[in-house]
């Protein structure tokens, strides 16, 4: 059951990140490539922060609420260094510190990432998934993770999709959390021909 669920999420992740990468790459004049097939892992929720390099590492987190036929939440988290590489590609400016403009550019990049991911799933399933305006937090990984998990009311395990990109010879790491409400997850699974997961 757990394996079937993970396989299914990997499949969703492949479709979603494929589309998201294409959308981002278009913004960056084709300089962004997906490096590896996204890897889905199910983690006890207390370990999620450690998974990304420790609870104290600074991350950039985008968090949205999904409404429509499928309700839930979605998040995109990146180590700060990765986010700064993306920002440099987008603006051509090296930014050691984030100013307001940098923050809103990151918010927009994250927004493109999650909405194109959702659009891909929406098109495949014919289920409406409407993202909210994105929330942006740049803070300790632990603080961002627990706020995402509490916001989505995840209390046991969380499936994290890790994906890696390459741009201008540099590796960029990102973590996607697709957190549909339980009953809506089953709805999506059924449309993909899967039974009880």
């Amino acid at each position: 059951m757990k394996e079937a669920r993970l396989d299914f999420l990997r499949e969703l992740a492949n479709i979603g990140t494929g589309h998201a990468t294409t959308a981002l790459s278009q913004m960056l004049n084709g300089r962004l490539f997906q490096l590896v097939v996204p890897d889905a892992q199910m983690l006890p929720f207390t370990e999620a922060a450690e998974y990304m390099g420790g609870a104290e590492q600074v991350v950039v987190g985008i968090f949205i609420v999904i409404s429509g036929d499928v309700k839930g939440h979605m998040a995109f988290l990146q180590p700060l260094e990765s986010a700064l590489v993306l920002l440099r590609l987008l603006t051509g400016i090296e930014q050691p510190e984030l100013d307001e403009l940098g923050r809103s550019a990151l918010q927009e990049l994250g927004n493109i990432m999650v909405t194109s991911y959702l659009n891909a799933l929406s098109t495949m399933t014919n289920l409406l998934m409407v993202p909210s305006v994105p929330g942006l937090a740049i803070d300790m990984a632990g603080a961002v993770w627990e706020s995402v998990l509490a916001g989505a009311q995840v209390t046991d395990e969380v499936t994290v999709i890790r994906t890696r990109f390459s741009a201008d010879g540099e590796d960029i790491e990102g973590h996607i959390l697709f957190l549909p409400d339980h009953e809506d997850f089953e709805k999506v699974a059924r449309l993909f021909g899967l039974g009880e997961l």
Partner: protein, 159 residues
């Protein structure tokens, strides 16, 4: 000095010495209970305000309603007196303030629940650094009851 890291939903304790640390408090609330006379300290890292029937395996420290009584029991087990215990709080932030998912953020709900359950047990909150929209690291020095709170890019502040 030994430093123990208290993860989400956990409760840790120490007597006379040691540091109890919680890294990355967002919407969670870190609670430091202390009896200064016998130098007993207990730290909790509360995730949500109220325990739920669909999560029966949850450790007591995950929710405020079960966590606060469990922390008090742990303090008493180590020789603390209920009447001497006081509490210091940190966390309960709202990292995504523009996503108003409900009128009261989860962080604020956590703070309210922790304060309510401490009050129910007659434990005063002597200092706190809560709410706002940033993450926090909380360190609790059991030898003297000092608690420091750090935000990213800032120096630790004693509360």
């Amino acid at each position: 000095m030994t430093e123990v890291f208290v993860n989400m939903g956990e409760i840790s304790s120490s007597k006379n010495q040691g540091i109890l640390t919680t890294v990355g408090l967002g919407s969670c609330v870190g609670v430091a209970l202390y009896d200064p006379q016998v130098k007993v300290g207990v730290m909790g890292h509360i995730f949500l305000p109220q325990s739920r029937p669909n999560d029966p395996q949850a450790p007591p420290g995950k929710y405020a309603d079960t966590g606060i009584p469990a922390m008090i029991e742990e303090a008493v087990r180590l020789g603390a007196s209920r009447s001497r215990l006081h509490a210091k709080l940190a966390g309960g932030a709202n990292l995504f303030p523009n996503l108003s998912m409900s009128s009261t953020s989860i962080g604020q709900q956590n703070i309210n629940a922790v304060v309510e359950h401490l009050k129910k047990h007659g434990i005063p909150v002597v200092s706190q650094d809560v709410a706002g929209s940033h993450g926090r690291k909380m360190r609790f020095f059991v030898e003297n009851g000092v608690v420091t709170v750090t935000a990213i890019g800032k120096d630790p502040v004693e509360i």
